[in-house]
Symmetry: C2
Subunit: 513 residues, 2 copies
Amino acid sequence: MEALSEKIFLKLDMPNDQNRRGDRDKIFDALKEKYGQVIMPYKILKELYPKCREANFEITVTLARRDYDWVVTKIECGDTTHNHYGLCVDLGSTTVIMRLVDLNTGNIITEECIFNKEIKFGEDILNRIFYTRNSKEKLYEVHKAAIDTFLELLDIIEKKTNVKGEDISIMTVAGNTTMIHFLLNIDPWTIFQTPYTPVFNQPGFINAEEIGIPISGYVYCFPSVANYFGGDIVSGLLYTEIYDSDEISAFIDIGTNGELVIGNKDFLVAVAGAAGPALEGGISKFGMRAKKGAIDTIKIINNEIKYTTIENGKPLGICGSGIVDLLSEMFLNGWVDFSGELKENASKHIIKVDNELAVEYASKDESKNQESLIFTQSDINQFLKTKSAAYTMVAFLLGEVGLTLDDLDRFYAAGAFGTHLNLESAVTIGMYPDLDRNKFNCPGNTSLEGAYKLLTNRNLLSKVDNIASKINYIGLENAKDFLEKMRGASFLPHTDIDNYPSVKANLIKRGLL
Amino acid sequence: MEALSEKIFLKLDMPNDQNRRGDRDKIFDALKEKYGQVIMPYKILKELYPKCREANFEITVTLARRDYDWVVTKIECGDTTHNHYGLCVDLGSTTVIMRLVDLNTGNIITEECIFNKEIKFGEDILNRIFYTRNSKEKLYEVHKAAIDTFLELLDIIEKKTNVKGEDISIMTVAGNTTMIHFLLNIDPWTIFQTPYTPVFNQPGFINAEEIGIPISGYVYCFPSVANYFGGDIVSGLLYTEIYDSDEISAFIDIGTNGELVIGNKDFLVAVAGAAGPALEGGISKFGMRAKKGAIDTIKIINNEIKYTTIENGKPLGICGSGIVDLLSEMFLNGWVDFSGELKENASKHIIKVDNELAVEYASKDESKNQESLIFTQSDINQFLKTKSAAYTMVAFLLGEVGLTLDDLDRFYAAGAFGTHLNLESAVTIGMYPDLDRNKFNCPGNTSLEGAYKLLTNRNLLSKVDNIASKINYIGLENAKDFLEKMRGASFLPHTDIDNYPSVKANLIKRGLL
C-alpha cells in the first residue's frame, strides 16, 4: 500500500543532555529521511508541546501526500497507525457516493450513497447555475448544499463504523467540472458561457477545513479537461488504464452528459456533449430514474411483454436500460420498423393515446392497483436522438484520428447506465457499435473506482496530471457534419445495416430482412 | 535581486475558442516554467473569478519563496510589480527594529525601532517566562504583546511611507529562541528547564495571517541552534559570512546574553551564556541603557573626567560603552589597580559612599540641576565578571578546537554594544583579546543585517540551514574549569599580562609597570 496518506509511529529520544534538538526538529529529522519534502503547518507546531513529551516521544505522525511534498496533518500520542482512513467520493449532480477505506489494507469498510442536496436548487445542473448567477450568497447556498451532502455522508459513516472525521486524513473527489466548482464555492457561470472556460481545471490539494469538511487532512479533486469533460471522466480513465495500454480503446460514459474518449498509450482524444434527459427518465411521462419500481429489463416472448423491476417493486415507470430493451425487443419482433416507427397492427400492446401511437408496456390491473404504463412515438423519437448521438460520437471521433471501428480493441461502457444496460439490446438498436462482444467491458462506476484507485496508490498522482494534459479534447461545435451523421444513425440500428452484421444476421434469422 | 518574494506581470490570453484552459491553470502554466514547484492556496483560487477576466488577464502575481516551493500570495489587476515590499525584523527582548525594503531594488525605505511591548511582563526574559508558566491565557498575553509591537511598527511605517501591510509579501525575523517562541504563541518554558530543549528550532515559513500579522504573505523566523543560541546569532553569522571563509573568525555578541562562535568554512563551534545585566545598566544605581543622557564615552585628561552623552542630553547615568571607557581610563591613570580595586587617594573623584569606595564620574552641580553620578567598587566587581566571562569564552572555545589567539584572523564584535564600544578600552581592560587592531570588525546590528540579507537574497535560505546544522554548540555546563579561568581573567587586563602585549607596552610607557 502506498496510499495518499501515511501514518508512521516514531519512538524518539526524550530531550536529554546529549540531544537537545527542538521537538519539531527531532520529528522532522525522523521524517525527512523517509519522506523528503515535508511541511509541518503552524497549527501542528503549536500542538507539539507538551503533547510529545507527555507521550514520552512515542508518537504517531499522519502525513498527507501532495503533488511534490508531504504535509503533517496530525500528531497523536502512542501508536495509532492501525487507525488510518481515507475517503473517495463520486460527486454526481444527482447522487453522491462516499466510500470509507482502510488505508493500511485498502479494504473498503463501507460505501454510502445519498442524493445530492443541491437538487433542491434544480434537478438540472443548468438551473443551479442560473440560480447562483450574480449572487455570492446564492452561490454559497448551493456550495453549502454540497458540503451538507458530504456532512450527512460522514455522519452516516461514523454512525455505522465509528470512524470519525478526525481519523480521516485524505479524500479524493471525482465530479464533473460544475460540481467541483460548486464544492469549492467558485462560480461555475463561465463553464456554460462561450467560450466555455472554467475558473480552474486543477484545483490542487485543498485543506478540508478551508471548505468546511471536518476531516483532519486534505481534499483532492480530480482535474477537469474542459467544460463538459470533468474530473469524473479523468478518474474513470485512471481506473481503466487505457492511457497505459497498447490496445486502442473507446471509453464512453452516458449519463446527464455523454463523454467519449478514444486512445491508447500514445494518444487520447475526446468529445463530450449534453446527452439530455433521455436516460434519466425525463423523456417520457413514465420514464424514471433507476430506482425501486423502475422497469429495468424487458423481453418480448410470444408477442407478450415480460419485464423485471428494480427491487421487484410495483412497476412505476421505465428507466434507461428498460427503454433500450423495449426498443430492441420491439424492433426484433417487428413492432417498430427500421426508422423506429411503431406499427399499429403489430401487437395488441400498440395502442393510440391522444391520437398518437404508443406501446403499453404494462397494462392496467385494478386488482394490483397497477396503472397503464406507456411509451409513445414521441418518446421513441426523442430516445433515438440520444442513441444516435452516442453512436455518432464514436464514428466522429474515430474519423478525427483516421481509425475505423475495426481498429477498436476494447469498448468500455462506463457509468450506471453502461452497467445496467443489456449489451445485446444496445447493439441491436445501434447505440453501441457492432463489435465482437468480447471487446465490451462494463466497468461500473469508474468515477468512484478511479478515486479509490488514486486514494490507495499515490504513485498515480502524476498519471492523473498526464491523462488530463494528454487528452486532446474536441469541442462538438467543431464537428460540422455531426447533425447530418446523427440523422444517419437514428435508424435502427443504422442507415447502413452492413455496419451491424450481427444484427443483420439476427434480423434475417427472424425473417425481418 | 533574487528576493524572498517575486512579483511577475502576466499578460495572458483571455479565454477563447483556441484556449479554454481554466483561469488557474493558465496562470499556473505561465508560472511553472519559471518557478517550478508552485502552490496556489484556496484563498487565492477563490479570488480568480471574475478578477482575472475583468483585468483582461493582465495581472500581477506575487509569489513568496519557501524552502522548496513558491506560494502565490496575491493576484492583482494590471502591472503592480513596482509595488513590491518586504520587511526584516530584529526582534530583541528590549527593542524591536523593523526595516521596510523595496524588493525590486533592495533599497531600505525606512527603519523603525520601538520597545518590545513584552517588557510590561518583565524587563528580564525570565520574568516573562515565569509569568506565562502553566497558563495558555498568559502565554497569549505575552504573544499578543509581541504581535502588538509588530502592529505598531507596521502602523508607523504605513503612516510614514504609505506602504500597507497588504503590499508586503514576506517578512524575515531574527530573534533569540525565547522571543520566537513568544512570537508564535508557543510556551518557552522548556528552554530554561533542564535539559534546555526548545519546542522547535526551525519553525519553517508561517502564514502571517495565522499569527495575526497583517501582511499578505509569509513570516520566516531564523532557526535557533540551542536554548541560548538563537536565530539572531544565526542571522548574524549569515551576515558576516564567516561560514564561507578560509579565515578563522571569532564572532561575539554581548548583550543580555553573550554568544560566541569561532570557525570558518570547515567548522563552526559556539558557546553562549547569560551575560547578565552588566551591559544594560542593571549593575549600578546609575547604570542605564544606551539612550539620551547616558554617558557613552569617557576620557581622563589631566586627572579630570571628560565625557560625552548620547544626544548630548543632561547626564543621567552611564551605559555599557561608558563603563568600559571608565574602567580603562581609570586603569591607565592608576585610579584602579590590576585587580580592579579603586585606589582611595589616586584622585579627588574617588570618594567614599556608605563606607564603600566609588568613583564620582559626574559631579553634583545645582546650577545645572545635575546630580552626583557614581560607580562603586561593587559595580566594578560585578562588571569584571562580565568582561572576564567574555574573555574566558574566547579562551575556552579556542582551547576546545586546539587553537590559540594567534590563529584568529578576524574578530567580529557584533551587536549594539560592540558597535558603540571603544575598541582600545575593551582591549585595555581585557574584555577583548589583544589582537592586531586590523583584525577587529564591528559590523553593528548583524541580527538585523542578516535578516535583510536573506530577505533580498533567497539563495541564502539553504545557507541558513547549513549554518544552523553545522554549528557545534558546546553548553558551558560542560566547561569544568570555566569559573577558574574566569577568575584569572577578572584581572586588568589579565593575570598573565603577557597575553596583552599592547596594553603592557602602554602601561610601561605610562610608568604603571
